[in-house]
Symmetry: C2
């Protein structure tokens, strides 16, 4: 058995590489070379039968992920399958199942999502390990290293394409956090679990100290590691501090070890960042992690807009992707307030896709500028059915157009007969004739 | 009678300057100096009695404007007063009345808005002149230069604080447009009126050739000129082209002439721009227009998201403001599809305020970082009433929190008992004890 990376290193073009090349409008050789260089990953578990493979990385269309999954208060599987369908319909390239409902429901939810998802599926195994430890042993800190690896293996065996693993939050990183101090300390759930575990037991993080064990599992199922940033800033005031950068240094070293083991790997990043620190964060990650694909959670550019964090993160995500980030985790309007519902999922995905596409327009991503130019020509021609067809969310565009234009005018109701494009076309046309 | 600028040049601190200084947490002397240098404007018509003066420019909080006003299909004044109230409630710093409903209703709507608006009010007089020419003379091109100036004077006499005037679209600029060619030609309504007028009559733009007449009117009522960019790009493909830059060069020269006449002046800018052209556009405007305040219409960073242009413009607006733009014209979700309603107005203003504040966080704007830090501390403390109070839109934040959290838990329903901040606080606290 070989991973996509092992195949690429042997110069082999896999069916997944061919499929990705077709979707990205680049050659299969370029995809193979990118995977061999570690600048592209194809998260495609050998057991995820429903998957239509996609890729994340350099030169490719910026991808977007939707976080879904049950919580204690909303444990129903059906709701999450509806969110999966909404996310895929809205154009998500990936979903992460972050279920933390009751322990027996977590396996069931994940398996249901995997059996229905054509897009790559990610998880954070430590969540399930934490829930199980709490229910079976009484507290998160009572889980053993074996418990953690058992859950990781279980999830990988089921067919998960990528897993977030908080390997970089070591004793050293936590020391640095405590020395400097922070406004919001730790806002990563996995990070808080690992910190509580290490401090309570006075032991090193097993995901770091037994990293080879993790690499063996990932290699066996070709699961892509997404190295989690447990110490990501949870507010603008904590951004780009020593704790965050210490963890990033460790993640960079772990990237090399994964690559050496033939395991595909990407790195997660902040978080809350002011606009003027985004470009530097991307540069730093790319340099310290030797150009590994960068998966950003936002970034959210201000803390003060709960209810609108799909917008605060669209601003940050666009700038991050234009600076080189490869994969945007959506943020929904419900962020900081509660679990997103289906409508939040849809709004979150569209906002993230806007950010991704705005960035792709500035790079050489195949087809990006052509899409905008087609829309501009349809707009100029007042061709509404074409504008709606080309819209990122045709359903929303159609709704607005119908609702605002009961009389079915050719122009829109903002300008009516005073349509600038019509008046100008007539005026300029008269002269040219 | 003196304008704010004339007073500033004489070293006089006016009541408006004092009020602005108080709101911006800077000294009145700094405001006076900024107005004297032409890098700050205080749009405050001597006849706008209800106005609580505000300022736009260098070093100040980035401002946001809401476009409202009737159209042929929605001519009711009441609806526009509701939008005014919604805009002010959502935190707009300015509104523009762009009414183009039937000619008799335009004066009435403007006067009603002026009598109720505590924020600065702008207009585009050529719209009314165009509607009147069409109704009275049969076509826009039949209006005379006197008609244009008569409407400008009427609106200024009523108390309008700033007016958009398309003075830079000259024969030369239109020639350049026609030589290069464009996908969407002209998307500015005022620009299309002036172009049709010039080409049909084979005459120069009177707002350019008789610019001194305009300066006299503006000076008499202390109306701030907002030099309109008739040739702003209407799609990403047309951005930063020769037509746009030719007009900007002309606007720069007109800035100097306004300043010399003691008239306050700012400059409008694009429009549709890809992310990677925004910083250069701001730099160019600031340099060519000798640091005049810059009022941007978006910028919208992709053409393909009708229904979500409050988001495409929040991305562009944030980057523009972080690069030095001073004033953001909102774009609503209805853009490119129809006339915005009250809900669209609210969403547009909040999105623009997010963009403005994200930029202010990166500069030295008084109070900006403190706001975020207060929110972060409230979030860490799980202090929900404080989080809602501090939210940019408390109403929306409250709605979400209530709807997602029927059981009134202390945490939010995303993480429930697995709240990272709580777990981390407990773990880190145990060690420190």
């Amino acid at each position: 058995m070989t991973t996509q990376r092992q195949a690429a290193l042997q110069g082999e073009i896999t069916p997944a590489m061919k499929r990705v090349a077709q979707k990205e409008q680049v050659s299969p050789e370029e995809i193979m070379q990118g995977v061999a260089d570690g600048v592209i990953v194809i998260p495609a578990n050998i057991n995820h039968d429903e998957l239509d493979p996609g890729a994340v990385g350099q030169g490719l269309r910026t991808k977007v992920n939707a976080n879904i999954g049950t919580s204690e208060d909303f444990p129903e599987v059906e709701k999450e399958l509806e969110k999966l369908a909404a996310a895929v319909d809205a154009g998500a390239d990936a979903v992460m199942d972050l279920s933390m409902g009751s322990s027996e429901g977590i396996d069931e939810t994940r398996r249901a999502i995997l059996s229905e998802s054509p897009v790559m599926v990610g998880t954070v195994p430590i969540y399930q390990a934490g829930v199980e430890a709490r229910e079976n042993a009484g507290a998160i800190v009572f889980m053993t290293a074996d418990d953690m690896f058992e859950v990781i293996e279980r999830q990988c065996r089921d067919g998960v394409d990528f897993i977030t693993v908080h390997c970089g939050i070591t004793r050293q990183a936590v020391d640095r956090l405590q020395e400097e101090g922070r406004v919001t300390d730790i806002v990563s759930r996995g990070g808080s679990f690992m910190t509580a575990w290490m401090l309570h037991r006075d032991e090193e993080n097993p995901l770091y100290s037994e990293y080879d064990r993790l690499l063996n599992i990932a290699s066996a199922y070709d699961v892509t590691l997404s190295l989690g940033d447990a110490l990501r800033p949870g507010c603008v005031a904590d951004s780009t501090d020593r704790a965050q950068i210490q963890e990033l240094l460790i993640l960079g070293e772990l990237v090399d070890r994964a690559r050496d083991a033939g395991v595909q790997v990407m790195v997660e990043g902040p978080g809350h960042l002011p606009l003027d620190q985004i470009e530097a964060n991307v540069l730093l990650q790319k340099r310290l992690c030797h150009q590994a694909p960068f998966y950003v959670l936002g970034p959210i550019v201000t803390d003060v807009a709960p209810g609108y964090d799909h917008i605060t993160s669209a601003i940050g995500g666009a700038l991050a992707a234009a600076s080189g980030a490869d994969f945007l985790c959506y943020v929904t309007p419900a962020e900081h307030l509660g679990l997103p519902d289906e409508q939040d999922v849809r709004e979150g995905i569209i906002a993230a896709r806007i950010a991704a596409h705005a960035a792709d327009l500035t790079g050489g991503v195949a087809g990006a500028r052509e899409w905008d130019e087609k829309m501009a020509r349809a707009r100029k021609a007042l061709d509404w059915s074409q504008q709606i067809r080309l819209a990122m969310d045709p359903q929303k565009a159609r709704q607005y157009r119908q609702q605002k234009n009961a009389q079915q005018m050719q122009q829109c109701t903002m300008c009516g007969q005073y349509c600038a494009m019509e008046i100008a076309e007539k005026a300029l046309g008269e002269v040219e004739d």
